[in-house]
């Protein structure tokens, strides 16, 4: 090991609202109650590491709404930010503006201020190198509920130091042209308890607008709208959940399970968001309106193939 390994670091001047280290997530632990976790917006996570010429599963710093303000100490380093994010670098008292989806150089004593995500929720900071973080069950993803993963399972805190290692030589720009399109229509597949709800309730579920409430986080999105009335039972015997499941609570409100969700649940499942729409779903901020559209499994599989092709296409067009 090099003696000067820890000479590159960030000091956290402001932690942001919900800043955590994430990677691809944890597989195969649902049966002991540990959710998948991992970066919420999978495509933006992938693009961040790709621009940094990193391994796909390298840890990134995920932030929500307001991001962190970080002071950098060390040799010049390439960094990039993905998402729809407003950020600046303060260098010798000057504010410098940059764009997302390209490598920029951070110098000693620079201050990276990630101000906000624009009409979206999550953004990502990746570096040409590696954040020095703890791993737990094959992943560094922080789960603040089980207190596992990087940073002892906690969000970033003010004043803490983030050590960096394996700093790469300054990288090419690696610019990707990508516009985070917003969606209002979320495509879903019928869930196993579709018939627990009245015809009117289903009609309303598939045609009315729902509000994304403030009670939304990495565990789930709570919606408010017309009450979805249940004609069978408002509870089921608890059973396994997956990302994107839409449960209807006893109050008749939909709640969508996201990456840190409880692994089992006892509310009827009216539908499941298709995999291809997940990245866009998690980016819908509170206060927005969404609508559900039902499609079949075959179409969902085709749409996922297109989503994958689009991702690969973005990566192959790096400039």
């Amino acid at each position: 090991m090099k003696k000067n390994m820890n000479k590159n670091y960030f000091e956290v001047l402001r932690p942001g609202i919900n800043s955590t280290f994430q990677d691809n997530g944890r597989n195969n632990f649902y049966h002991i109650g540990i959710p998948f976790s991992g970066a919420m917006d999978n495509r933006n996570f992938l693009l961040a590491n790709t621009i940094s010429n990193n391994e796909i599963n390298n840890p990134v710093l995920e932030f929500a709404y307001q991001g962190p303000k970080l002071k950098y100490i060390g040799e010049n380093i390439s960094i990039n930010v993905t998402g729809d994010v407003n950020f600046k670098i303060i260098r010798k008292n000057k504010n410098l503006e940059f764009s997302c989806y390209e490598n920029i150089i951070l110098e000693n004593n620079d201050c990276l201020d990630i101000l906000s995500t624009n009409r979206s929720v999550y953004g990502y900071l990746s570096i040409g190198g590696t954040f020095e973080v703890d791993y737990y069950l094959n992943s560094c993803s922080t789960n603040t509920k089980a207190k596992i993963g990087a940073n002892s399972g906690e969000k970033l805190e003010k004043g803490q130091i983030i050590h960096l290692k394996n700093i790469k030589k300054i990288l090419p720009k690696n610019k990707i042209e990508y516009l985070n399109s917003k969606i209002e229509n979320i495509r879903i597949i019928k869930g196993p308890h579709f018939d627990y709800f009245s015809k009117d309730a289903i009609h309303s579920f598939l045609s009315d607008e729902f509000n994304v409430t403030k009670l939304s986080d990495r565990m789930g999105i709570r919606l408010k709208g017309p009450k979805i009335s249940n004609i069978k039972n408002t509870n089921i015997k608890s059973e396994g959940l997956v990302k994107g499941v839409i449960q209807i609570t006893a109050d008749g409100d939909p709640i969508i399970m996201l990456s840190d969700h409880g692994t089992i649940g006892g509310y009827p499942k009216i539908g499941v968001v298709i995999t291809a729409d997940y990245d866009k779903l998690v980016q819908i901020p509170p206060g927005s309106k969404i609508k559900f559209k039902e499609i079949n499994l075959k179409d969902a599989e085709t749409i996922f193939k297109l989503y994958e092709m689009e991702t690969q296409n973005l990566i192959s067009n790096i400039k």
């Binding site: 632990f29 649902y30 109650g33 207190k147 399972g153 994107g244 499994l297 599989e301």
Partner: protein
Amino acid sequence: MIKNISNLGDAALYCDFGTEVNKEINRNVINYFNNLRDSNFLGITNITPSYNKLVISFDLKLTSFAKLKKQVENLELKKNNNSKNNLIKIPVCCAEEFALDIKRLQKLLKINEAKIYETFFSKNYYCYMTGFIAGMPFLGDMDKSLFAKRLETPRVKVPKNSIGITEQFCNIYTFESPGGWNIIGKTPVDIFDNKKNTEPNLINPGDTISFYPISKLEYEKKYE
């Protein structure tokens, strides 16, 4: 046996073993779970057993519902593959400060405290599933005389390691968490150890649990 396999979204299988909650059905679920864990079918990301369902999620880049469904249907089961399941003994301290709901239970069940504990400790419990929060075991079945409703107003914070009962089930709160189960004691043993990097959970689906009482003194000793 699996009665029906349907899709839960585009990236999970929903295997239905029936609607009742009993050990026979659950043993079937766990048997499939154990066999599937050994199967190495491509693309499986998680397998979640519960009372009478098994949810298998997969990576849509690597496999599909139709492919995996066929594999699960054709899975050759090693019978009673429960070599992974153990008998685990859990100490419980029932001191007043830990048995938060024992007074309520006496009133509700019309049995005295001694009898409640005698009945509770006389049985072995079967772990139907673990989850909701990391490592939390759902154990059953309680003796009928101890069937009790949940609290009308759930506690905002149930202390970590509390033992709770409701209806035919009991569980152990592996983390401080909100909850509405009737709390009858506390164990000094960490059921989920988030410092342990392999098998952080003490109890797995299919395991058998026997509880035994310990004094406050023993509790404090174990905690040291």
